[in-house]
């Protein structure tokens, strides 16, 4: 007799745990591969999965076994022209007659390669990163709740029944309802006993008493052990949780001095930032500001794809940021972040204005502000002014320089590295 079972239905991802264990063990290798991949990819497919390669030696599971050498006698099939006593030269590189046993795993000596999914890729990409200094917390909106015990209730669902409370209430009810009758019952019983002992001939009275006793005990018996209104339920209430709200200002220079390659790098940086925020922070606003001689707030599409260009006045973007902060993001509620990318070119005299704006208006209300200069050239006035800002706000202001595309990811990691609390 055979049993036939269809196992296909409920076995998705049975190997998931082992896979996770493996990935966990080789985190270091995968992280490196991800970092390499991020810098070499084009802007549009930055978030796809990736093939990871790990050197075979690093993932060997060692066991005792023989290595080639010594005296080996082996039987082979398919003899064509050999006769006993023939001597043949040893084949090079194993395999073939009498050579060392070929690798029987079928994998040969190649490196171990496998695919990780897009999700895993992003996970590794943004592993250990966070928005620094995310401290302002507010009771905002009504979307995060914590369930909290709030005593007991008489209504609820069966899974919330509190057994101890219910039985205690039942017990109380049984005592309350039953004790007068029981007391009476005891009295009557005593009377009956007395009567039986002293005047056994008064059968009328005895029968009367017996009837009463019977009635009373029936009444006591009728009291239910557990009644519906004994049942008590655990009561839980939703309590809103304070959450932090954050806004990220992305400021990108699109002036004429930014050539195509520089713009491309700036966009890459912001795409990373955008992906990071989208993935790791649910409640984060992103404000895109694009500027040349004047600044404009644009949407995501325009920010990444528009081709508008012109001269450079950096302060225009900063003052726009300041305006938006004032109107839409009250600093008491919002954690404010800024990220600016530029090639460092600026209109004469404007850099000092930027300094004033940052030091007096923006930095005091900002959790963190990072400036990325994409330029292989000598730093200009803007960088020097920003250095000044940095010296005043050491913890919250960061400057980094990007020269080539491969710098983007390391710089990004540097800026948002999780710091010990």
């Amino acid at each position: 007799m055979s049993y036939l079972i269809d196992r296909r239905l409920n076995a998705k991802n049975k190997s998931a745990v082992n896979r996770q264990r493996f990935i966990r063990r080789y985190k270091k290798h995968i992280k490196k591969a991800v970092a390499d991949a991020v810098s070499s990819r084009s802007i549009t497919d930055i978030e796809k999965g990736e093939e990871i390669t790990i050197p075979n030696d690093d993932i060997q599971e060692p066991v005792f076994s023989h290595s080639p050498g010594g005296k080996r006698t082996t039987i082979h099939p398919g003899n064509k022209e050999f006769v006993k006593g023939d001597k043949i030269p040893r084949p090079k590189g194993g395999g073939g007659a009498g050579g060392s046993k070929a690798s029987n795993t079928g994998e040969g000596m190649d490196d171990f390669a496998f695919q990780i999914t897009q999700d895993e890729f992003l996970e590794f990409m943004f592993d250990d990163l966070e928005l620094p200094n995310l401290v302002k917390r507010q009771l905002a909106g009504s979307d995060t709740f914590k369930y909290k015990r709030a005593g007991y209730s008489t209504v609820g669902t069966p899974n919330q029944i509190n057994i101890v409370r219910s039985l205690r209430a039942a017990n109380a009810r049984r005592i309350a309802l039953g004790s007068p009758s029981k007391k009476k019952l005891a009295q009557l019983q005593q009377q009956l006993e007395q009567l039986l002992e002293e005047h056994p001939q008064q059968s009328d009275k005895i029968r009367q008493l017996e009837e009463q006793i019977e009635q009373l005990s029936a009444k006591v018996k009728r009291i239910p052990f557990l009644d519906t209104f004994d049942i008590k339920y655990n009561l839980t209430v939703k309590e809103p949780q304070p959450t932090s709200k954050a806004v990220m200002f992305c400021i990108m220079d699109v002036s004429g001095s930014m050539n195509q390659a520089t713009k491309d790098m700036a966009k890459r940086f912001f795409i990373l930032l955008y992906l990071f925020l989208q993935r790791n922070y649910d409640r984060t606003d992103v404000v895109f500001i694009r500027h040349h001689t004047n600044a404009a707030e644009v949407d995501e599409e325009e920010f990444f794809y528009s081709r508008e260009t012109g001269g450079t006045i950096v302060s225009s973007a900063l003052s726009l940021m300041k305006n938006i902060m004032d109107t839409r993001y009250p600093t008491s509620e919002w954690n404010i972040y800024g990220a600016q990318a530029s090639d460092g070119d600026n209109w004469d005299n404007d850099s000092s204005r930027c300094y004033d704006l940052l030091v007096n208006e923006i930095m005091p209300h900002t959790q963190h502000y990072s400036y990325v200069e994409i330029s292989p050239r000598e730093h200009q006035s803007l960088w020097h002014e920003y250095e000044q800002v940095k010296s005043q706000f050491e913890d919250t202001f960061a400057t980094q320089q990007i020269i080539q595309p491969s710098d983007i990811y390391p710089v990004f990691r540097e800026l948002f590295q999780r710091r010990p609390a």
Binding site: Y3, V17, S65
Partner: protein
């Protein structure tokens, strides 16, 4: 003239399978198997998809196994090769349990499913039930229970001690898994209930024994002489995991339990490694015989037979030694050829056969095959049953590769003077003792630094591989004290391995 009016109809004509058809085929094949006298466990046939097949593949074919990163690694490797089309999956996996579990892939055609049923559910199944090694060493009734126990126990350890700690122990156990087998002693039957009951007692007791062995309280003066102590262990120990489980001083009770689990599972797989040629040969012989019988009875169509024969020939294909696809002797080919030949010798013996196999030439083939299947393992099976005809058909020859000589010598070919030599050496190739390095624990310095000394007796001067040093690290992790391994050739130490590596120590003279 007397054409039978009721000609048997084929069971199916299309290539798609359905559950009803599988059931019908199974009934017919099962019936035929019974006619041929195959004794099997009940079958549990499970239909799975390719992902599940890869999963089963990567955790040594078992339906449920504890978690370990190496299985994830195998899975990823297989998945990668499979998705690139570099590798096909096995058509089936069969598990030595009662009932015998066989996996069928949903991608298979009806013909393939029938082939797999005949191969796995009646071929392998009857082998598991009949062969003496499986009968003696594995407990088909309780293996699934034991795997559940092992998986739960290890999960519990992970909860309690952390995934990393458990993983480390498992890594070390896996490295020594091949040295966790009792080659001669019959293991105690495993059963979950007993296992659970005894586990606690064992933990306490084991620790006590270990503590006894490592007692550091000074000995009284009457027994001072150090050399009077018997050497420990009294005899060299080949079952390293068993020795560690019972004697390693620093292991926690749960470490010992994990060692035991890995050891038990290694023991369970040991017969499979010793009977590959026979097992596959037996299963191939029966799927071939059963399906041909079905064809003779008009139960299957010509198209079915064509498809079956094509798969069958590719399974038993043996590339020649000079082919780029050659990777040793195909156990399916050798096993199938030998089984078929035994039947031939029984049914149509030649003079040569009568001379070589006087005791069974011309006997009942079913009885002879059953006898061969039940009482041998690969090594002895080849030694007893490899006939000159098979050697001629496969054109076997014997090559001697000695690293002291500049050329390879052909010492025997498939001719009268060579048959005996080839048979002997081919049998030797399946001797587990020669396949794996012979490493044994010879001495423990119990009153000194507790270091462990092992000896590797070289066979034909075959050296240890480059991973030996790494493997020693695992042994060191379990033992907790210094490990010394000497590789011995003709009584002389030719190579020594130490863990911690002696080269890492600062030279005392230079200090």
């Amino acid at each position: 003239m007397n054409q039978p009016q009721l000609k048997q109809q084929p069971i199916s004509t299309g290539s798609d399978w359905t559950f009803e058809l599988i059931q019908q085929y199974d009934e017919v094949i099962g019936g035929l198997a019974q006619e041929f006298g195959l004794d099997t466990y009940p079958n549990q046939i499970e239909i799975i998809n390719s992902e599940q097949m890869m999963d089963a593949y990567s955790s040594s074919g078992m339906p449920l196994f504890y978690h370990h990163w190496s299985y994830g690694k195998h899975f990823l490797g297989i998945e990668n090769n499979y998705n690139r089309g570099q590798m096909g999956l096995a058509y089936e996996i069969v598990i030595n349990s009662n009932p015998c579990i066989a996996y069928l892939m949903e991608e298979n055609s009806m013909t393939m499913q029938a082939l797999v049923i005949a191969h796995a559910c009646y071929g392998h199944n009857s082998f598991f039930k009949g062969n003496y090694l499986f009968r003696a060493w594995t407990e088909a009734d309780s293996i699934i229970d034991y795997l559940v126990f092992a998986r739960n126990y290890i999960a519990k350890c992970e909860e309690r001690h952390g995934v990393d700690a458990v993983e480390k122990i498992l890594d070390s156990c896996h490295a020594l898994m091949n040295y966790g087998v009792d080659r001669y002693k019959r293991p105690h039957p495993i059963s979950t209930t007993e296992e659970m009951q005894r586990q606690h007692e064992r933990e306490v007791l084991l620790q006590q024994q270990v503590n006894d062995l490592w007692r550091t309280i000074p000995v009284t003066k009457s027994t001072t002489a150090k050399d009077k102590l018997p050497p420990f262990p009294e005899e060299p120990q080949e079952n390293l995991l068993y020795f560690l489980e019972k004697n390693a001083p620093l292991l926690e009770p749960w470490h010992r339990e994990i060692l035991r689990i890995v050891r038990k599972i290694a023991q369970y797989f040991y017969p499979q490694r010793q009977t590959q040629v026979m097992n596959e040969g037996w299963a191939c012989f029966w799927h071939y015989t059963l399906l041909n019988e079905m064809y003779d009875r008009n139960l299957v169509t010509d198209g079915f037979m064509m498809e079956f024969l094509q798969s069958h020939t590719s399974v038993i294909f043996q590339p020649d030694f000079d082919s780029p696809y050659y990777s040793g002797i195909n156990p399916y080919t050798l096993g199938f050829a030998m089984m078929m030949d035994i039947r031939r010798i029984c049914e149509n013996p030649t003079d040569e056969d009568r001379q070589w196999f006087p005791d069974f030439a011309g006997s009942n083939w079913q009885e002879t095959l059953q006898f061969a299947m039940r009482n041998f393992k690969d090594e002895s099976f080849i030694q007893q049953f490899l006939s000159p005809k098979v050697m001629r058909d496969l054109k076997l020859f014997c090559a001697l590769d000695d690293d002291r000589l500049s050329e390879i010598e052909i010492t025997a070919i498939h001719d009268d003077s060579g048959y005996q030599i080839i048979r002997e050496h081919l049998a030797g190739q399946y001797n587990m003792g020669d396949k794996e390095p012979n490493i044994q624990i010879t001495n423990i310095d119990i009153r000194g630094d507790r270091s462990m000394r092992l000896e590797h007796r070289q066979h034909n001067r075959k050296p240890l591989n480059d991973y030996s040093q790494e493997t020693l690290k695992h042994l060191h992790r379990l033992w907790g004290f210094d490990i010394h391994l000497d590789s011995i050739q003709d009584g002389k130490v030719v190579n020594s391995y130490h863990c911690p590596d002696i080269n890492d120590y600062p030279d005392p003279e230079n200090e």
